[in-house]
Amino acid sequence: MVRTTQSLADLPEGSTGTIRDIDALSPTAQRLLDMGFVPGTPIKAIKRAPMGDPTTYEIRGYKVGLRRSESSLIDVEIKPDVK
């Protein structure tokens, strides 16, 4: 199976990925972890704002908007078999 890891910030609108890693050194990381952005969690990029940033994501049944500065802390993996 081909596995591709990329930054959450680059996850295309409408696609789902699985969180692989999070930059533990960033001060925001702890808050993201606490909100459920832990490795193995599926996350879907719902929509980018009209001006390109931020982006809404769906994770653990709720929606949250992240700026690129936050979403680029997270690495996701897109499995070809996940829609």
């Binding site: 930054s7 910030a9 999070i22 930059d23 533990a24 050194l25 960033s26 001060p27 925001t28 990381a29 702890q30 808050r31 993201l32 972890l33 606490d34 909100m35 459920g36 832990v38 490795p39 193995g40 969690t41 929509k47 980018r48 704002a49 009209p50 001006m51 390109g52 940033d53 931020p54 809404t56 653990r60 049944g61 709720y62 929606k63 949250v64 908007g65 992240l66 700026r67 690129r68 500065s69 936050e70 680029s72 802390l73 690495d75």
Partner: protein, 763 residues
């Protein structure tokens, strides 16, 4: 239950409400306490503390509404309050409000509490939409698996609140037993935490929740270099133990991630054992509405329409009740003038106090209408969407998307705009917005511009007005940029914008908001504004007796004794004018103005302009009326008089620029002081405005002088052109970044940014 008389000798318990933002915590608080609550500050920090009381059969309950937070680990000063109150809360009672429609994430905080040995009463909120969507939960099982007592509630309709309160009032609910349950800390973790606590001669079993929290925090702290070697050793051992049986060994730095993952694993297990979560708890109509409201092309126009509607109702419809208020104030003033003897008391009452009170009351209609809409936007869930679509633009000047509404409202009046910064929950972001709002040109500053532009630039007043706005905007963007570059870190501005589901706002919550806003404004800011108005009034009428250079009464009598000629009327008028001017010059206000004049003289202002700036502090529109009075001896027409005394179009331009920037009016200052809760911040921002106004005006004067003088050297010309190009480029770059740019220049965590080097210019 809230109408019962207090029981004599009944116990009095402190109850603390904790929960995620948007979990319905405040609705639950209102449902429990009804109307009785008071607003104060948490000791040490300027975070609002809301306390309410409810009376039950067995005693009184003092309910504390703690700031909403996703986790005990604080990200903002507000959230630190939760952690600091933890021990006190553990000694009383904790209600953990859990939005069951958002179960997993809400249980994270519950898990943290349970790990630390706290036994919260869990209020499973939004229970109605959960069951409607097909969700079920075995409450008995949930309680026994978590060691908590759980109550289904619907805070918006107060459903289930009675049985929750009854439970709180029972004395036995205070007992905390030691449970071994699903959410408890795994043994490996607890042992390591125990080792950390041993350094401070503490034991896990006897330590307070806060001590336990700190022990655990030592294990996962994200700054590994700061820890002492012994703790590092414990961490290393913990990581090694946790690595057993894994394909990839765990690194010390991943411990924080591992603990969070472990908590979510426990939560997932708990939910799978006791509840059925509806697959899709967002109804399809909401999805459609959301797609429309945040649409790439339709989202912005829709938001603009909504803003226009709110602005129009706030300031145009608001004018009608404002007119009533004004006539009421006038009536009261006249009543006092008619019924009191002439004298100091009458003047103080009629001109000082009544008009001061009027100055406070005129804001109420605006505030009520604006907050009516804000409450509806906030409760319906649209506010988050608005912040979402505007964030890119606001971020370019260092602000949060939510700052757009306060900034735009500033165009009408800065006072409700500053109050509206309440919608920004991050304190740093709120202060930054408050700092920038006074630089938004409010409607009261327009008369000065209209008058002077019309007088000094009769050919094209609008062009010059536009250029003033342009400079103003440049200053605003510059200040926003600079402050955020200097002070903004990822610590003080994490951006996590939760999109709550759309809900129908309830009349009670809207009413609560309006009542609280109006009372808060009158009580807190109103007193400051009133005091300021009285001070300015005193300065403008005292000292009562000013030594005159001539005997006015005698000369008047002399004129009157002479036979009446065609010039008599004129003579009397000019004499009166002369006396008025001398009296005015003798008042404290003019004396202060003259004292300040040397400071302002480099800007080309005469003492008259300097004096007019003082009442301008009370309200910017008074600048014009004061100038009119001061210039009367030269000519009846203000414009001509100013020309006569040597004011040039350039000084007029500089004066307008200074008036726009120099200082917010006293009402704005009052609300900034009260809302920021910080005298230091208010004083510092005053200093910032004044220095910016001074520097910008001075630069404008010098540039203008250079442009006018034909003797300007080539070097000077180049400097001016370069400055103009730089300013234009700066503005253009900001605008471009706003609309098309995708650089991560505002990235607060650039050091750890994975995209660094690709498209991050290192901002």
């Amino acid at each position: 239950m809230s109408n019962k008389q207090p029981h004599e000798g009944g116990h009095c318990r402190k109850v603390f409400l904790v929960g995620n933002p948007n979990s319905g915590k405040t609705s639950l608080f209102n449902a429990i306490t009804g109307e009785r609550h008071r607003v104060g500050n948490w000791p040490g920090v300027t975070v609002q503390k809301i306390e309410g009381i409810t009376i039950t059969d067995s005693g009184r309950l003092i309910i504390n509404d703690l700031p909403g937070t996703y986790s005990l680990t604080p990200a903002t000063p507000e959230e630190e309050v939760v952690l600091k109150s933890l021990d006190e809360a553990a000694n009383g009672l904790i209600i953990n409000v859990v939005d069951i429609a958002n179960f997993e994430r809400n249980l994270f905080l519950t898990t943290q509490l349970v790990e630390l040995g706290v036994k919260p009463v869990v209020s499973l909120n939004c229970y109605d939409s959960f069951t409607r969507a097909g969700g079920t939960i075995d409450l008995q099982k949930f309680s026994s698996l978590t060691g908590t007592s759980a109550f289904p509630t619907v805070a918006r309709t107060a459903e289930g609140v009675t049985s929750l309160v009854e439970h709180l009032a029972r004395p036995e609910s205070l007992k905390v037993e030691c449970y071994s349950n699903l959410l408890a800390l795994p043994e490996i973790w607890q042992k390591s935490a125990e080792e950390v606590l041993a350094f401070q001669q503490l034991k896990w079993s006897t330590a307070t929740p806060l001590q336990k929290y700190n022990g655990l925090r030592e294990l996962i702290s994200l700054k590994p270099l700061e820890a002492d070697p012994q703790i590092l050793e414990i961490r290393r051992r913990l990581a090694a133990q946790l690595s057993i049986g894994r394909e990839k060994p765990l690194k010390v730095i991943d411990l924080a991630c591992e603990l969070a993952s472990d908590r979510y694993r426990r939560i997932e297990k708990l939910i799978s054992l006791c509840a059925v979560i509806p697959g899709k708890n967002i109804p399809p109509w909401q999805e459609k509405l959301d797609a429309l409201l945040t649409h790439r092309f339709l989202g912005l126009p829709f938001f603009a329409l909504m803003m226009a509607w709110i602005f129009w109702t706030t300031f145009s419809i608001g004018e009608i009740p404002m007119g009533w208020m004004e006539s009421l104030v006038e009536l009261a003033g006249n009543f006092i003038r008619d019924n009191l003897q002439a004298g100091m008391l009458r003047e103080l009452l009629a001109d000082g106090i009544i008009s001061g009170v009027g100055g406070v009351l005129v804001f109420i209609p605006n505030i009520l209408i604006l907050f009516f809409w804000i409450a509806i936007l906030e409760d319906s869930g649209y506010m988050s969407r608005a912040a979402f679509i505007m964030d890119r633009m606001m971020n370019s000047i260092g602000l949060h998307g939510r700052a757009f509404i306060p900034m735009i409202m500033g165009l009408g009046c800065n006072v409700p705009a500053v109050l509206a910064t309440r919608i920004i929950d991050n304190r740093f972001q709120r202060l930054l917005t408050m700092l920038l709002i006074p630089l938004v040109t409010c409607a009261a500053r327009l008369p000065v511009l209209v008058l002077l532009c019309g007088t000094f630039f009769p050919e094209n007043p609008s062009t010059w007005m536009f250029s003033l706005f342009f400079v103003n905007l440049l200053v605003l963007i510059f200040l926003g940029h600079t402050t955020s570059i200097l002070f903004k870190t990822a610590d003080n501005s994490p951006f996590l914008l939760e999109m709550p589901p759309y809900r129908l706002p309830t009349p009670t919550s809207v009413l609560h908001m309006l009542q609280e806003k109006a009372m808060h404004f009158i009580e807190k800011a109103g007193t400051v504004i009133l005091a300021g108005a009285i001070v300015i009034w005193v300065l403008s009428v005292f000292p009562r007796e000013v030594p005159l250079s001539f005997d006015f009464a005698a000369e008047l009598a002399a004129i009157k004794s002479r036979p009446v000629t065609s010039q008599t009327g004129e003579e009397i008028a000019s004499l009166t004018r002369k006396r008025d001017i001398e009296q005015m010059e003798g008042r404290y206000m003019a004396r202060i103005g003259k004292l300040m004049h040397p400071v302002m003289a480099p800007l080309g202002f005469s003492w008259r302009e300097t004096v007019s700036l003082i009442p301008g502090f009370l309200a910017k529109e008074s600048v014009v009326s004061t100038l009119t009075v001061l210039y009367i001896p030269y000519d009846e027409d203000l414009g001509k008089a100013m020309h006569k005394t040597g004011m040039t179009p350039l000084t007029a331009f500089v004066f307008m620029l200074f008036t726009l920037l120099y200082i917010p009016c006293i009402a704005t200052l009052g609300v900034v002081w009260r809302e920021s809760g910080s005298t230091k911040f208010t004083a510092l921002s005053l200093l910032v405005y004044f220095s910016i106004a001074y520097i910008v005006s001075f630069a404008a004067l010098k540039i203008g002088e250079l442009l006018q003088s034909s003797t300007g050297t080539a070097a000077e010309a180049v400097t001016i052109i370069l400055a103009a190009i730089f300013a234009g480029w700066y503005l253009l770059r900001t605008l471009l970044n706003t609309f098309i740019g995708r650089q991560c220049k505002s990235c607060a965590s650039c050091s750890s940014c994975p995209a660094k080097g690709n498209d991050c210019p290192g901002g």
